[in-house]
């Protein structure tokens, strides 16, 4: 990777690294930690959706597989949670490969529908499996160990998520600019065209699908060990939709777009949650979560109508003009 393209990552990393120095509030850091975990999964989703040209509506399914694999390794086998993270990536990747080999045969919107089905099947199966604790899920998932209890503090975990996120961003940017990345971009423009130029489109698609599954799995592992308990409902269909919203609003075919979209939606979500305190007490919002969803839905529709490429690519295109 050229140094110039590395600069923004460095800058963003440095700014974000300052956050725990400014505040030690568990709530604030927690918000950032969740946003970071989401961003990892959303970047995975964007890599696949941006290149295969199809929205994936099952990313939460891979997060679920990763989270459960990690939790099982750490609790049932009492092994190191780090091995759990490894198992999370490996299991999600393997499942991604199996599922991908099947559903990537589909094209057009049938592929999107296939991913949707996958996410729902995962959530439904987790509820049925005694080993994964049925509907009540898994509890007492320990934190990762690193130099004693560093990662048991909020700030410590914050830095862990930040490092993983930055590594994911650098690797993804590298991939986008590499030869396989160019092949994938060609795939997005025209599958037949790419094939004519000698790109093995089936293999290229499968690889990026597996990669997106692995990232989803890692995000799931980070989530499980942070929160300490997971249930099948943690990863239900609406979470997949939420992730898709984040990816699509930022710009689905851009790594920065995915990161930006996640930050945007998370920021907005926090702002809306703070809204009732700002409004005069006469104005009452019955359910803040639903109100929030309504605004997300409206933003999603507007962005899709006016900037179908997402915010980040549209902005950069305007700048270049």
């Amino acid at each position: 990777m050229r140094f110039r393209s590395f600069l923004p990552v460095l800058a963003v990393g440095l700014i974000l690294a300052l956050v725990p120095l400014v505040t030690t509030s568990k709530q604030v850091l927690g918000t950032f930690i969740f946003a970071g975990i989401y961003a990892i999964a959303v970047i995975g989703l964007a890599l696949f959706s941006g290149y295969a040209g199809q929205p994936s509506m099952g990313q939460a399914g891979f997060c679920a597989i990763g989270a459960y694999a990690s939790a099982i390794v750490a609790t049932k086998f009492s092994l190191s949670p780090w091995l759990g993270m490894l198992a999370a990536g490996a299991t999600s990747g393997l499942v991604g490969w199996l599922i991908g080999s099947l559903i990537l045969r589909l094209s057009g919107h049938y592929l999107a529908i296939g991913t949707l089905g996958f996410g729902i099947i995962v959530a439904a199966l987790l509820k049925q499996w005694e080993w994964t604790g049925l509907s009540s899920g898994m509890r007492n998932v320990p934190r990762y160990e690193f130099v004693g209890d560093v990662l048991k503090t909020e700030a410590g975990y914050y830095y862990l998520v930040l490092v993983v996120l930055l590594v994911v961003i650098v690797l993804s940017l590298n991939l986008v600019r590499s030869r396989p990345g160019r092949a994938l971009r060609a795939l997005h423009e025209s599958e037949i065209g790419a094939e004519m130029l000698g790109v093995d489109t089936a293999t290229a698609k499968l690889r990026v699908f597996v990669l997106s599954a692995v990232l989803g799995g890692v995000a799931g592992s980070l989530y499980a060990h942070y929160v300490g308990s997971i249930t099948p409902d943690t990863f239900e269909f609406t979470i997949s939709v939420e992730m898709l919203v984040m990816a699509v609003i930022g710009g689905v075919s851009s790594v920065w777009g995915a990161a930006f979209g996640t930050a945007f939606i998370w920021g907005l979500s926090q702002a809306i949650k703070a809204l009732p305190d700002l409004l005069p007490s006469a104005v009452k919002i019955p359910s803040i979560t639903q109100f929030e969803l309504m605004i997300f839905g409206a933003i999603l529709i507007l962005v899709m109508i006016f900037m179908p490429d997402g915010l980040v690519p549209t902005m950069t295109k305007r700048q270049r003009r």
Partner: protein, 329 residues
């Protein structure tokens, strides 16, 4: 297993009434997809709005008009209001995107946006408490009329219990299908809609306003969904979350039948309903690796396992899901 076999006829009856609902929702998918090429994932939310409006109107009207008329008024209001919601969603969310030549994927995502907004709307207006209405034809009325084989709201016909509401559901499906048949074959608007489905470019050249036809298709689909929502209001909790699961099942049914094929959608719906009911009635099983599994709770996954299987088999046969004949009842 013997108990299961003994209940099989009952399960199939249950499955048919469940499947008729799926078929109604699936018809909505087919109408919209055929005319405007949009896969409208908000179809289930149209059903939810229809059901909630229906319950509200019936509750309000029962005191003044009596139960029978209240159901009629409720149906009418629910269908008109939801039809309006459908037309409005097209005009506000889909038409601007289609005019900007949005891709099929963008339109799917927009339909997800519409369903998020409608679900939130349902919650903000009607709250989180489930409601319902009494059966259209309460068992009490039948007993007073001298029928002896009525238990609760169900008829007993040779060992099989048939909810009176199920009869209404089948009736609604038959009426809807007949109505659509007449509409698409005998009216000018219906023929214009079919023309758009067959070949949008030629239709436009012949002077058919495509955008207006899409608007009608959305209103029509939403109206059908509202009918489905109203008619199951007595059978399951009516709540802002009810649209998601039902919508997805209707969608699976539509895909099973080939998404542009209305007759296929009806068969798809009935088949899915029967499979779900039968699987739900299977005894508890001890599966290797999975432990004890209660099939009733696997129903949710079943629909999608079938969906994936159908899609992949079709694809392997080279049809890419668009099997069967094109639009036209």
């Amino acid at each position: 297993m013997d108990i299961f076999l003994a209940t099989l006829p009952q399960l199939i009856v249950l499955g048919i009434s469940l499947g008729a609902i799926y078929a109604l929702i699936a018809l909505g998918f087919v109408v919209i997809y055929s005319v405007s090429n949009v896969i409208n994932l908000a179809q289930g939310e149209f059903l939810m709005i229809g059901a909630l409006v229906f319950v509200a109107v019936v509750d309000a009207a029962t005191k003044t008009t009596g139960a029978g008329l209240a159901v009629l008024v409720g149906l009418l209001v629910a269908i008109i209001v939801t039809g309006g919601v459908g037309a409005l969603s097209y005009a506000l969310a889909f038409r601007p995107a289609i005019e900007r030549r949005a891709s099929v994927q963008t339109l799917i995502i927009i339909s997800m946006g519409v369903s998020i907004v409608l679900r939130a709307f349902g919650n903000l207006v009607w709250g989180v408490d489930p409601t319902s209405t009494p059966a259209f034809l309460p068992g009490r009325t039948l007993r007073e009329a001298g029928m002896t084989n009525v238990i609760g709201d169900s008829l007993r016909l040779g060992g099989v219990a048939l909810q009176t509401q199920s009869i209404w559901i089948i009736f609604a499906l038959i009426v809807t299908v007949t109505g659509l048949f007449v509409f698409f074959n005998r009216t000018m608007t219906g023929r214009a809609l079919r023309a758009c489905a067959m070949n949008p470019d030629s239709a436009r050249l012949m002077g058919v306003p495509l955008s207006k036809m899409s608007l009608i298709a959305f209103a029509l689909s939403a109206a059908i969904a509202a009918l489905a929502g109203a008619i199951i209001a007595p059978m399951q909790p009516v709540l802002y979350t009810m649209g998601l699961g039902l919508g997805l099942r209707g969608f699976v049914s539509a895909i099973m039948g080939g998404i542009a094929n209305p007759v296929g959608a009806i068969w798809g719906g009935l088949l899915l309903g029967i499979i779900e009911a039968v699987v739900g009635g299977l005894p508890q099983m001890d599966l290797p690796g999975l432990g004890k599994v209660n099939p009733a709770s696997l129903r949710e996954a079943i629909a999608f396992v079938i969906l994936l299987a159908v899609l992949i088999i079709r694809r392997l046969r080279g049809a890419n899901g668009l099997g069967g004949k094109r639009f036209g009842l």
